[in-house]
Assembly symmetry: C2
Homo-oligomer: 591 residues x 2
C-alpha cells in the first residue's frame, strides 16, 4: 500500500516542481525520507511534486492488517491561523537555507539556543551569485548561480541588553537577549528563550525572517548611527520618518551592450539619481541582486518586485520598453520609501560608478549583519506602548483589505488587458471596416459621371479615411492609458504578495506576547522577561504599521496619479477622434 | 433518367420557391409540363424550386440509347444582353399576370397583334385587393387578396397618330400606332407592328411594362392637360420639369387603432401634407395600395419601395418606430419626385379625408388608362433628337454605376449593421466591464480604513459609473447615427432593384430602333415608320435619362445630408463620452 501523509497546514506552491497542499488533505508519498526537508508525492488533485516534509504527517499503514500508526504529531502551538508562508524555492539549489527537520527536532529537544542565544538568520535568502566576481554574471537570467550561504557574523557573544553600547568603531552593539530594563545576563537570556517556546515550523516566515529570533531576544549586532531607522507617530498612526533628503532617479532608454567581442550581449540601463546627478549603468542582474539584498534585510518592508524575467525575446523592442517602464515604476517605489531609499545597498547601487568600488560595496552589502531579525535592532520607535488589540484589529483589517485589493487588482488588470486587446484588434477592425465601406461607396459614386457629385464623393472618401485613422487611434491608445495602469497594477500585485509574510511576522510576534503573558500568569516566566517580549513585539508592530501606512500613502498617491493620467489620456483620445470626425464633416461644406 | 433542361437565359430568383438559373446551366426537371408557365426542378447548385418554363429548353434523353432530342428553340431575336427581368412572384397566386408559354407560342406563330394593334397592358401589376370595399382589408399583411385582372380600356380602336386630338371631355386622344409626321392610318400601324417583331420573352419587363407596345405604336389613350409630364433639357441633360408647387408631408407617430369591437387592430399613421395642412390617416395597406398603382403606372420611374412587411411583432415599438422612419424616407422621396409628387393617385392618397371620396378616387386610380406603355403618351420631351450612341453610353454607364452602388450599399449596410450590433453588445460590454472593475477597486479601497483615501475611492467609483454610462451611450448611439444610414441605404437598395427594369425598357426600345433601321436598309420598312420608332424610343430615352438624373440629384442630396447627420451625431457622441470622462477626472481634484 502506498505511503500516505496528512497535511498539517496549507502550503501554496510557488515554484516549478512544488505542489500545493491543503490542511487535512491526504497525500501519497513516494518515500518517507525527505530530501533536505522536502518530500515528493501526489496530492488529492493528482498533482505530483515537492512539498515541505514538516507540513505533513506520515501515516504508516500496518502490514498484515495490524495498524501501527505513529502517534500524531501535536499541532504546533504557535502556528497562526494564517497560511504559513511558502519556501522561496524547492529543490537542492535553495534547500540549504531551510533547517531540515532533523535539526529542527534537535533544536526542540535541546531547548533554546546555545550560549549567546544567536542562531543563524538564514531568512528569505534571495538567489544571488556565490562568486564575488561581477563578470561571472554573463547573463541577465543566469539561474545556475548558487545561493549564498555565508554564516552571518555572530555579533560577539550576545547577552547584551537592548540599550546600545558604543564599540570602538562608533557602532552601537545591541542585543535583544534580555529585557531593556532588566539588564540581565546571558543566563537570563538563555532562560527566557527556554520559557517562550520556538515555533516548530521552520518554514514559517516568522522564523525565517528572524522575527522569532528577535522576539526571543536572540538578535544581536552593531547598529551604526546612520543605520538607525525611526518610526514616528503621525496623524494616521505609526509612520516611517520621512527621508529628510528625498530624491528621485531617472531611467533612460536601455541600450544593448556586448562583451567578449560580441559573443555575449545584454541590455544596460542608465540611471541618473537627482541627488548625485551622476549617471550609472545597471543591468537587470544588478537590479536583481539589489532586490535580493533588500528582501533579506527587511522582514516587514514590502520590497517592490522587479519586473519579471523573460527567457526569450528579451531584446525585442516591446519587451525592453515594457521592462523599462516596469523598472521606472519600481524605482519610484524605491526612492519614495523612507527606509528603502536610504538603505546602503540601494545607495551603493544608485551611486557607485567605479567597478572596483562596486565589488567592494557589493561584498559589504552581502556581509551586512543587520539583516532579518537584526533589522529590528536598528529601529527607534515612539515610547508609548501600543494597544495590542488595536494593533491586531488594524493588521487584521489590513489583511482583509489586501485580499480584496488583490482580487480587484487582478480583475481590473484582466479587464484592462482585455479592453486593450479588444481595442487593438476588434475596435480597430470595426472602425476600419466602416472606413473601407465608406471608401467603397465613394468609389462607386465616382462612377456616376455627374459633376455635381464630385465634392460628395471626395467627402465620403475622406470620411472613410477618417474612420481608418480612428481605427488606428484605437489600436494605439492602450499604450497611452491602459498599459501604464496594467504596469502599476503589476507592481501592486507584487506588493500584495509580500504582505502575507509581513503580516505573518507581526502575528507571530503577537502570539509570542500572548504566550508569555500566559506563562507569567502560570508563574513560568518573570514579568520583566514578558515585558521584554512585549516591547520587542511593539517594535515589530510599529514597523509593520509604519509599513502599512506607507503602503496606503503611496497607493493613494499612485492610483490618484494613474487614474488622472488614464482619464486625461482617454479624454485626449476621444478629442482626437472628435477632431477627425470634425475634419471629415467640414468636407461636406459647400458640396 | 431524369428529365433535363438547359437554361437559355439567366434567371434570378426573387421570391420564395423560385430558384436562380444561369444561361447554359443544365437543370433536372420534375415534369416537362409547366404549371401556368413555371417548371419545377433542381439547378446545378442543388437548389430546388420554380423557374420560368420559357427560360429553359427541355432536353429529352432517348430511351434505349437513341437520341431523340428536340430541335433547339431558336434564341429570341430581341432578348438583350442584360438578364431578363424576374417574374414578380412564382406560383398560382400571381401567375395569371404572365402569359403562359402556349399563348406565347401562338403569338409567335400568328405574327403581330390583331387589328388596332392594341394588346392588354398587364404590366407589373401590383397585388391589390380585387374588391372595391376598403373594409375588406382587415389586415395590413393580407396576402390572400387576388391580383387585379381587369382588362384595361383599349383606348377606342387605336390607329391614331401621336398628334393629340381633343375629345369632348377636354382630353387629348393620343396613339403611337403610326409616326407623328406620317399621320398614317390604322393599316399602316398594323403594318409597322408586323415589321418590327415582338419580343418572344413575355416575362421581359420591356413587354410587361408596356414599353414594347408603345414602341410598336400600339399604345393609345386620352391624355388630360393635367397629366402632361414634361422632360426638359437641363444643364446636366434631360431632367423632369420641376414641380412648380413643391410640398412635403409629415408623418406623425403611428397610433394603434381597433375595429370590430377590438377584434382587429391596426396601426394608423397621420399624414399632414404642407400644401393642404389637412391631416389624413393612412394605414400600411394604403401605402401598399398606392405603391402598387405607381409601379403599374410608371414604367421608367423608380418608385421608392415602401418599408418591408413584417408578419410578427408588428405592434412592437421598435418595429413601428422603424417603419415610421422608413415611411418618412419613402414620403420624402415621393414628394421630391417631380412626377410622382404630382400624380393623381398620390395626391388622392395625401389629401382625401372622406371615406366615400376615398373609395371613388381609389376606383378611379385603379381604372386609370394612362398606365404602363400609355404613360409614355403623356410625356412632352425636348424637340431635339437624342444621339442614340450617347444615350446608350450614358445608360450603360448608369448600369455599371448602379451595380457598383448596389454592391457598396450592400457592403456599407452590412458593415453599419455589424458596427451597430458591436456597439450595442460588444462595446457596451467592454466599457461596462471596465466600469465594474473600477467600481470593484473602489470597493476594495473602501476597506482601507484610511481617511485620506476616501476622496480617491469616491473618484474611482465615479469613474466606474462613468464607464458604465459610456457603455450605455455606445449602446444607444446606433439609433442616432447608424440606423438612419441603414434606413436610407435600404431605400436606395429598393431603387437599385428598380433600375434594371427601367434600363431594360430603355434598352428594349433601343433594340427596336436598331432593328427598324436594319429593316429600312433591307427595304422591309418605310423610313417614316422607322422614324416613328426612333421618336418613340427618344421619348423613352428622355424619360429614362430624366429619371437617372433625378436619381443622381436626390442621391447626392440624400447622402450629403445623411453623412453630415451621421458625422454630427458621431461628433456629438464622442463629445458626450469626453464629457463623462471630464466629469470623472474632476472628481480627482483635491483628492
Amino acid at each position: 500500500m502506498a505511503l500516505q501523509a496528512r497535511a498539517l497546514y496549507d502550503f501554496q506552491s510557488e515554484n516549478v516542481g512544488e505542489i500545493s497542499v491543503r490542511e487535512d488533505e491526504v497525500l501519497t508519498v513516494y518515500s518517507e525520507h525527505d530530501i533536505e526537508g522536502w518530500l515528493e508525492g501526489v496530492n488529492s488533485r493528482g498533482e505530483r511534486g515537492l512539498f515541505p516534509a514538516s507540513y505533513v504527517q506520515i501515516q504508516r499503514a500496518a502490514a498484515g492488517g495490524v495498524a501501527a500508526a505513529e502517534p500524531p504529531v501535536s499541532r504546533y502551538a504557535n502556528v497562526p491561523a494564517a497560511p504559513p508562508p511558502q519556501p522561496a524555492a524547492a529543490g537542492p539549489v535553495v534547500s540549504s537555507t531551510f533547517c531540515p527537520p532533523p535539526q529542527l527536532q534537535a533544536a526542540t529537544a535541546g531547548g533554546g539556543g546555545g550560549p549567546g542565544g544567536l542562531v543563524q538568520l538564514g531568512g528569505l535568502q534571495h538567489q544571488t551569485s556565490g562568486s564575488g566576481d561581477d563578470d561571472d554574471w554573463d547573463d541577465d537570467w543566469d539561474d545556475s548561480s548558487t545561493v549564498a550561504d555565508e554564516p552571518l557574523p555572530g555579533g560577539g557573544g550576545g547577552g547584551m541588553g537592548f540599550s546600545p553600547e558604543l564599540d570602538g568603531l562608533g557602532r552601537y552593539k545591541v542585543s535583544t537577549a534580555a529585557g531593556r530594563r532588566s539588564g540581565s545576563s546571558a543566563s537570563a537570556a538563555s532562560k527566557s528563550t527556554t520559557t517562550v517556546s520556538r515555533n516548530l515550523n521552520r518554514f514559517s516566515t516568522f522564523v525565517k525572517s528572524g522575527g522569532e529570533a528577535f522576539i526571543l531576544g536572540e538578535a544581536a549586532g552593531f547598529v551604526k548611527d546612520g543605520d538607525r531607522i525611526c518610526v514616528v507617530s503621525g496623524p494616521h498612526g505609526p509612520a516611517w520618518q520621512e527621508d529628510p533628503y528625498p530624491f528621485s532617479c531617472s531611467i533612460d532608454e536601455p541600450t544593448k551592450q556586448t562583451k567578449f567581442k560580441g559573443i555575449k550581449s545584454y541590455i544596460s540601463y542608465r540611471l541618473v539619481p537627482n541627488h548625485t546627478q551622476i549617471s550609472v549603468n545597471r543591468r537587470y542582474k544588478h537590479f536583481d541582486w539589489l532586490y535580493g539584498r533588500l528582501v533579506e534585510k527587511f522582514p516587514v518592508i514590502s520590497v517592490p518586485h522587479i519586473p519579471e524575467k523573460q527567457a526569450t525575446g528579451r531584446f525585442e523592442e516591446d519587451f525592453i520598453s515594457k521592462r523599462k517602464k516596469g523598472l521606472i515604476l519600481w524605482m519610484n517605489h524605491m526612492t519614495s520609501h523612507p527606509v528603502l531609499a536610504r538603505c546602503d545597498a540601494f545607495q551603493h547601487f544608485l551611486t557607485c560608478s567605479d567597478e572596483k568600488a562596486w565589488k567592494q560595496g557589493k561584498r559589504k552589502a552581502e556581509k551586512d549583519d543587520m539583516v532579518g531579525g537584526n533589522f529590528f535592532l536598528t529601529l527607534s520607535t515612539p515610547p508609548a506602548p501600543l494597544d495590542l488589540q488595536e494593533v491586531e484589529s488594524r493588521v487584521d483589517g489590513f489583511k482583509s483589505f489586501t485580499k480584496r485589493m488583490d482580487e480587484s487588482v487582478f480583475q481590473l488588470s484582466h479587464t484592462a488587458n482585455e479592453f486593450a486587446r479588444k481595442q487593438v484588434v476588434g475596435f480597430k477592425k470595426e472602425y476600419q471596416k466602416v472606413g473601407t465601406s465608406f471608401r467603397l461607396l465613394s468609389q462607386a459614386f465616382e462612377m456616376d459621371q455627374q459633376s455635381f457629385s464630385v465634392g460628395l464623393n471626395r467627402a465620403i472618401a475622406f470620411t472613410g479615411d477618417a474612420y481608418d485613422a480612428i481605427g488606428e487611434l484605437f489600436a494605439e491608445q492602450p499604450k497611452q492609458d491602459i498599459d501604464p495602469i496594467v504596469d502599476l497594477l503589476a507592481l501592486y500585485q507584487g506588493h500584495l504578495t509580500n504582505f502575507p509574510d509581513i503580516i505573518h511576522v507581526q502575528k507571530g510576534a503577537l502570539t509570542k506576547v500572548k504566550e508569555s503573558k500566559r506563562h507569567v500568569e502560570e508563574g513560568k516566566m518573570e514579568l520583566q522577561q514578558a515585558d521584554g517580549v512585549r516591547e520587542r513585539c511593539d517594535t515589530i508592530s510599529f514597523a509593520t504599521l509604519a509599513e502599512i501606512h506607507h503602503f496606503h500613502t503611496i497607493r493613494v498617491s499612485d492610483f490618484k496619479t494613474q487614474m488622472q493620467h488614464f482619464l486625461q489620456q482617454q479624454i485626449h483620445f476621444y478629442q482626437k477622434v472628435t477632431q477627425k470626425l470634425e475634419e471629415a464633416l467640414q468636407k461636406y461644406d459647400g458640396v
